[in-house]
Symmetry: C2
Subunit: 442 residues, 2 copies
């Protein structure tokens, strides 16, 4: 692992240029260098393989952060998936005819989720969630949506913020829904995860006007007893479509949607990040009666017919199942959580740890959290790690990696603990404090 002195050279220089050419600098908020380490984060990669990433200066890092925002459960550039994709490229990835692999993929997803009968595909998570909501609205003839959590960038979802700061607790506080048509006001009604009272209030007010209830089956914590069951029963009673957004939770603790662990089936479920190991692919699966409503509306796009996505998904999902990747992800998460706890105890920090094991997250209990986390990230980067206050587990994370990682975490927690004690957090930072949410770049 290369030791890093804060001069991230070419990456930061390119990013400076990018900000003049690309509004916001990147295509994804979670990959903005400012979300990690402003002015110091390497920003761009030249190579990624397994759990390692090389920046534009050839510096090597171990990736112990959100790992491509959770898009690579098998690790970067997985040989088996790439081999399958190379085959698809050799035989042509686009034609006037359709790719037979999409039918195979529909069958596989339905086999993994026996409650589902049909599938439609897209290439992005936000996009496939918009499809799911379109289908639910078409199936019910209603417009309103009760929701919990984050579901992408599209109008139907951001409309939640037209009236109040409804997304403050779900996406990012203070997000103005600029550019979202005002006619969508009063279509989106939030409830907090595990707050059944709030859910009931939404249902009391909007009841049979709800087209859909949209949520992740599980968030930082699992469902309280009866929570998902009551939502399921309510949806059925109201004739609303229950949509589980498995874009992030899918393929973490089992091969398929995490809802299978909870024994509650939705009417539609959407997948994206877990399923293509980095190649654009997304799916919505569902019960026939609901899915057939897709035929009463127009849902159609050219690139949804290319072959790389389905081929990558078939290879990813089969390897996931054959190698019991979920078990590995859970083990990595447990090891990391235990290691964080131990390191905190050793260094005198107080942590709050949450997230399902494969999507582990910690919160340092202190003042000026953003500055403290920035110092942690800087210290980890100095030691050759891309790190943040979360670790998304991948199949490429091996015990030796975790040992190195937890060693560096202990050292960095120590740096942080001493800085907190001595009041030198800001002084030790070689650049600005990280951003914590949505923030306009100057």
């Amino acid at each position: 692992m290369s030791s890093n002195t804060g001069d991230t050279g070419r990456g930061q220089r390119l990013y400076k240029k990018a900000r003049t050419l690309i509004p916001g600098g990147t295509q994804l908020l979670s990959k903005r260098p400012e979300m990690f380490l402003p002015e110091q984060w390497p920003a761009y990669y030249s190579r990624a393989k397994g759990a390692e990433v090389w920046d534009l200066d050839g510096r090597r890092y171990l990736d112990t952060t959100h790992f491509g925002v959770g898009a690579c459960v098998l690790g970067f550039a997985d040989e088996d998936v790439d081999q399958a994709v190379l085959g698809a490229i050799q035989s042509g990835t686009m034609s006037t005819l359709n790719a037979p692999e999409e039918v195979e993929l529909a069958e596989l997803l339905i086999e993994l989720h026996p409650w589902a009968d049909m599938a439609r595909f897209a290439r992005c998570g936000g996009e496939v969630m918009a499809i799911a909501v379109r289908i639910a609205r078409a199936a019910t003839g209603r417009d309103k949506v009760a929701f919990c959590g984050y579901h992408g960038w599209q109008d139907w979802y951001l409309a939640a913020n037209l009236a109040t700061d409804a997304l403050g607790n779900h996406l990012l506080s203070g997000l103005e829904p600029a550019g979202v048509p005002r006619g969508l006001a009063n279509t989106m009604f939030p409830f907090m995860y595990n707050d059944i009272e709030q859910f009931r209030r939404v249902v009391e007010t909007h009841g049979k006007e709800l087209a859909a209830i949209v949520m992740e089956p599980c968030r930082a914590e699992g469902p309280a007893p009866g929570f998902l069951e009551e939502i399921r029963e309510t949806a059925s009673r109201l004739g609303a479509v229950l949509i589980f957004d498995e874009v992030t939770t899918g393929f973490r603790v089992l091969t398929g949607g995490i809802h299978r662990k909870f024994g509650v089936d939705p009417d539609l479920a959407a997948f994206a990040k877990g399923m293509g190991n980095g190649y654009p692919m997304a799916a919505v699966i569902g019960k026939r009666a609901v899915m057939e409503a897709a035929q009463s509306t127009f849902i159609s796009s050219t690139y949804w017919t290319e072959r790389v996505g389905p081929v990558a998904a078939l290879a990813t999902i089969r390897k996931h199942r054959d190698k019991n990747v979920a078990e590995h992800l859970i083990q990595v998460g447990r090891t990391v959580k235990a290691g964080w706890k131990r390191a905190a105890e050793q260094t005198g920090l107080t942590l709050h740890i949450d997230g399902i094991d494969p999507l582990a997250h910690f919160d340092i209990q202190c003042e000026h959290k953003a500055a403290v986390v920035t110092l942690f990230i800087q210290s980890m980067l100095d030691r050759g790690f891309l790190a943040s206050a979360q670790l998304y587990a991948s199949y490429a994370h091996q015990p030796a990696h975790l040992e190195q990682y937890l060693g560096a975490v202990t050292e960095s927690f120590d740096v942080v603990a001493r800085a907190l004690e001595e009041g030198t957090v800001e002084k030790l930072l070689r650049g600005p404090v990280k951003h914590s949410g949505f923030q306009r770049l100057a």
Copy 2:
């Protein structure tokens, strides 16, 4: 070329299954077998290379139809693009850091369109049009859109049909906008291409409430003198954002947007099909003052950060420019149009031919058009051609292909002409008549 007897075997069997697993059977309306030759179209491909496609039974066809709906200007499985993509795969297509190629691509697109300053990327055409409209609405603080033509599956666009059958002339007649929230009614105002009077009426009624004017710079025909100029002036006067949708017209008659030929610059332009040669990629470029509005809203998606798309686009666009691919596409289109005309004269058919040369289209002047075109398609398939009433030119279409194609066209026009004379069109069809627009599958 294999001669085909109408038994398309495995493809049709798989498609039968697909219809039970995928609502609507395919991911794109234009790739539904029923849009060509119900019960006979090969439906799926095993291999595609250059201008040739192999079906699931190993039968080989020359592709002389919409050629992947226009997504492969260089031809299927182009070696140079695929080589670049293989390089990207080898070095990893996803990581926690960003792909530097997206900055390079932004620069290249801006170099090709000197009026533009910034770019954002997505992976699908409908998706990037939704981004363009979001940006326009955010930049103006207005919601209404004047539009002409087809712009994808998303809510903002289909909302046009909430009030009347406004899309009848632009997309597909009779399309119900099921699942599109009713709050979007009265946001979309259509005008027909080259109908400046209709455009003026929209402007008179909605004037300074218009966020955007969305259109293809050119459709089947080019712009009437002054048409685009008046729209440009009107947009500037109203403070509305002029968006040129170049998803289909881009990279056909020159390297970049067709608007450069007409000397009228928009505020935003969107690209997709022409730019990735089959790999999912889409871009919106625009003037800084408008594009910066992207920062006042939330436009962010995980797969927009992967590396295949930008790498494929860089390779496609550079080859397009270096080899003067546009000139080839124009020549192919001219040869085909002249050949259609000659074949029609020889066989006694009357054709109406339109479309810019690389996107050539004919219309047989007769009754029962759908049945007649179905017979043409059947006759061409029997002769080893994927064909329809249009030909999208590709760099892979070589003179020898066109000679074979035009020979088969002459034979098939002759079949059609005699059937029309003898009143045997329906009798000669070995399956149902093709669908002509949006139609629910049984």
